[in-house]
């Protein structure tokens, strides 16, 4: 018994605590997951109610929808948290999100409202990047192409010099 007390006092118990896998300690509590799911359901219901009929049909069928931005043309709002506003004419995607954390459907609603009614504010703060080369993909398949590319696992870059079977005489050392 004394030995056991000594062992625990030396930190054996603490070691046991430390050995709990990290993913278990960082996993969100079940209650938090349920709250997030409920928030998403609520947000989706609001989004569906506030989309116009064509947008609602598109969203229910594909999970994304298009908005017309005065003076700038057509943009797709994709179901993603980053760079999810895709310009159909240029292939640029934009990333502008509320500062506070909100469900994904709320994010899509916020972007719809901003793009249709206050685009200057959105484009003033949003970051953008070239997602696709313009003209390389038919316009109607742009969103699918972007989402498919994001779903596919990223590949590590390999240099040709590492796989080539041809000896490289002038290879710098």
């Amino acid at each position: 018994m004394q030995f056991l007390t000594w062992l625990l006092g030396r930190g054996f118990g603490r070691e046991r605590q430390r050995s709990i896998p990290v993913h278990e300690s960082t996993r969100p509590a079940p209650g938090l997951l349920e709250a997030r799911a409920a928030a998403e359901v609520r947000a989706r219901r609001l989004l569906l109610r506030l989309l116009d009929p064509a947008q609602r049909l598109e969203f229910e069928r594909y999970g994304y929808f298009a908005v017309r931005v005065p003076g700038r043309g057509k943009f797709w709002i994709l179901p993603s948290r980053v760079f999810n506003v895709l310009h159909s004419a240029t292939g640029h995607s934009y990333c502008g999100t509320p500062q506070t954390e909100i469900p994904l459907s709320d994010l899509m609603l916020a972007q719809k409202l901003l793009l249709e009614n206050n685009p200057e504010l959105f484009f003033a703060v949003a970051n953008h990047r070239l997602e696709l080369v313009p003209g390389s993909t038919p316009e109607h398949s742009l969103p699918e192409r972007v989402m498919r590319a994001r779903r596919s696992p990223s590949r590590t870059r390999t240099r040709w010099s590492e796989v080539s079977m041809i000896p490289q005489v002038n290879r710098p050392r």
Partner: protein
């Protein structure tokens, strides 16, 4: 009855009020919240306006209609 809907982590927070004398406290709370949110960079939009009217940005509390959605301040991601 007018509804102020503030997007947040729970989906949205709703404050209902009207122009009656009985709803004075609720209206004052809604006005204070509306002004505070806009002062901190949020944007408000009149939605669900009926008669085919499009959504519209609003900055004046007295101009609110049936339903208003407040989008928290946006930043570049």
């Amino acid at each position: 009855m007018k509804i102020l809907r503030i997007l947040d982590s729970s989906g949205d927070r709703v404050i209902a009020f009207d122009d009656s004398a009985a709803a004075t406290a609720a209206r004052a709370q809604a006005r204070a919240l509306f002004q505070r949110m806009l002062a901190t960079g949020s944007t408000a939009f009149k939605v669900n306006r009926g008669d085919g009217k499009p959504d519209e940005k609003v900055t004046d509390f007295t101009a609110l209609e049936n339903e208003t959605v407040i989008v928290p301040r946006i930043v570049g991601g």
